[in-house]
Symmetry: C2
């Protein structure tokens, strides 16, 4: 719906400066009635910054430094080695996994927090393929977040399998009974498009394939309903919407029905049934614990655990409503104000088809992002021409949305992105 | 050498209470002339604690909490996503690896700090085997730290290879031209025995095999001379003698001559030549960076980086001398005072054959360790009957050695280990 319709009044003739007061008034009204608005104060956000990159690195929850200080000085510094038991370090991957399970509709026993998303894919893809002996293909989406492609290719090369690049829109038509596993992302990291998890999982299952969802760009902001949709496997990220800190461990999910016989491609002593028996011969731990490998990075893992406190008592459906309100407002303003200025909207307008980010295409997207940053609006750039703006409902306000649009207009109208200081750095891309 | 010989005087008739003053005097003299003694104050160690478990978890370096607080509040909290560049998060695995290289005689470009030791073995073992096509066996040591066995078995099972359990003492006799790779630990985690890295590497090479050393129980306290001995590969631990904090990332080492063609079994986007090009198709980064997989746990990794500051300007040869002085004193006292009390010494007496820990066998080793802990002497228990005491030269004093012996005598003489409160807990073993 356009700003005009929302406000019931005509904007200025050129949709120029005249739009701002009305938009800000609307934003204030939406923020005032947002039941999650109080959560913003649980985060440290620099004064004046509009942070729209929580889809890449969530901000620091304000209570985390004290938790980490206690971990360092009391648990490590004073209690030392005893902390593996007395401070429950040993069970942390299971405990943090259980905390994540509530956000994705899985059982606590189905989720483990450990290792990176990429390493976790190196566990699940070979394991899943082994559960469908005789099938020789893995389906991935073309343009997937690249690590999913690299892992599928590596696993396939080592085992003589084929990797088929088939987009979600064509899965039903192209899947056949040679496909062992489908690996899709719930939200496309470039466009912000969300796929129909329930339907695509059914399509995979009808063909006898298993389904693995990468939830890196959705866990914490979109409902997943892992169990309801009978999803087989999932991975996800700890440092984006879960705010677990830079490089926080990811999580790995396997449906209970697969756990008893789940192969363990990356066997390691933490995944052994009796790790301190120090036995020769790997015997997998019962349950999801078998996907542990070596010692987890406890400081990073317990930082993630602390960050998850923000999610206590939150309903993902409510987060989703708040997220859609933010992206909806941005899309409305973008259609009216940014598209006429040469920015193209890549994210679907239909609420059920979008994640919690909005992506815009611009021929000089990298420079646009840098110019925005200079205006204290932080998004990010993705190849080849994408400006990504993430609207994390825990701390982004509708006023932030309006400020972001205002800054984009200023950048483009002022040709600020053509300033040489915003040229692409050597390290990017 | 016995305490008697060292002191040039006769101890008490029963080597009983009479030994203590002489031992303490000797310890004080050795501590007073130890050129590394000043390093102890760089660590937080609880008052009155004798911490002999740095071979399992190094203590907290005193300066680390301030570094981590800055990382959390300034780098993450304030600088946010920009920190990947502005605070050099992106290059951290390479930078920390370069810091470790100085401790193991490798070039900075040969070492990467990332992931756990187990995950790193899942990279190197398949890569090494692929460099010796046509060879069908991997040699591991029986009784190795178990994760090395689990990884070798998993890799072999996935690729149709054999794993041969051949101890270092029998390698020369049993190795043949079917062996692609030998995987040994420089120091046996149970007995504290150190193996001859130079000679065993030569034996492997003469047979045309590659050599991978697990340095988990030696890096930071024993010279390794990775390049001098033309070692091919190594892994090691960040949380033991390197004091990087609980579950700190490990490190992975590959000789420069292998890097150009090194296969990447665990491909992931951080190991791509152009990670932000987000290309389909894995192209390995030049050099050791190709062994990166996903996002590293930055908080744990930079904690390790800070901890390594303690090693600045230290010579590993000097650390080795200090370590041998500590273990030597302990062994002298053990032979005179503990062996007669039923504790058996498992660690070789010859300096060149021992690491930086001393292991004692006792039928109730678990209870002995718990009773020692109650006396503020912290070692650890390993199956089946081993009391492990680590003598990390950065912070353990000769006075600690004497106090540990005194506590062991008190435990055994007082049958404290038979107290039910020191019985084995359910979770152990």
């Amino acid at each position: 719906m356009s700003l005009r319709t929302r406000q019931g009044q005509a904007p200025g003739p050129d949709e120029g400066p005249g739009w701002l007061p009305a938009a800000l008034a609307l934003a204030d009204q939406l923020d005032a009635t947002n039941p999650l608005a109080h959560l913003r104060e649980r985060f440290v956000l620099p004064e004046g910054l509009v942070y729209l990159d929580g889809n890449s690195l969530g901000p620091l929850p304000a209570h985390v430094p004290a938790v980490v200080a206690d971990l360092l000085t009391r648990q490590w510094g004073h209690d030392l080695i005893a902390s593996w038991d007395s401070n429950d370090w040993w069970t942390a991957p299971l405990r943090v996994g259980a905390r994540v399970s509530a956000l994705i509709g899985a059982q606590p026993e189905e989720v483990l927090a450990t290792d990176s998303v990429s390493v976790n894919l190196h566990k699940l893809i070979p394991a899943a393929v082994a559960l469908r002996p005789g099938r020789g293909s893995i389906v991935v989406e073309p343009g997937s977040f690249p690590t999913d492609l690299y892992v599928a290719d590596a696993v396939a090369a080592a085992r003589g399998l084929r990797v088929l690049r088939v987009g979600p829109d064509r899965l039903a038509e192209q899947i056949d009974d040679d496909v062992a596993l489908v690996v899709y992302n719930q939200v496309d990291y470039r466009t912000g498009r969300a796929y129909d998890v329930a339907e695509l999982t059914r399509v995979a299952h009808r063909a006898g394939a298993l389904m693995l969802w990468d939830l890196s760009h959705s866990a914490g902001v979109l409902p997943v309903d892992f169990d309801t949709h009978e999803i087989d496997f999932a991975v996800g990220c700890g440092y984006k919407y879960l705010n677990g800190g830079p490089g926080a461990p990811g999580f790995v999910v396997a449906a209970e029905r697969h756990l008893e016989d789940l192969p363990v491609p990356l066997a390691g002593w933490h995944g052994h049934a009796r790790p301190f028996a120090m036995q020769d011969g790997f015997v997998p731990a019962p349950g999801i614990g078998r996907l542990r490998v070596g010692s987890p990075p406890i400081i990073s893992l317990l930082t993630l655990q602390a960050a998850l406190d923000v999610y206590d008592d939150l309903d993902v459906a409510e987060l989703r409503r708040a997220s859609l309100s933010l992206t909806g407002l941005f899309l409305d303003l973008a259609v009216e104000l940014l598209v006429p200025r040469g920015l193209q909207v890549l994210t679907p307008a239909e609420p059920q088809r979008r994640g919690s980010q909005v992506s815009l295409a611009h021929p000089q997207a990298s420079a646009v992002v840098r110019a925005l940053t200079a205006r204290s609006v932080v998004g990010d750039f993705r190849e080849p021409d994408i400006v990504r703006l993430g609207f994390a409902p825990l701390y982004v306000t509708h006023a932030d949305v309006v400020r972001a649009v205002q800054a984009l207009i200023a950048v483009v109208d002022g040709a600020e992105h053509e300033d040489p200081r915003f040229a692409r750095p050597r390290t990017e891309g």
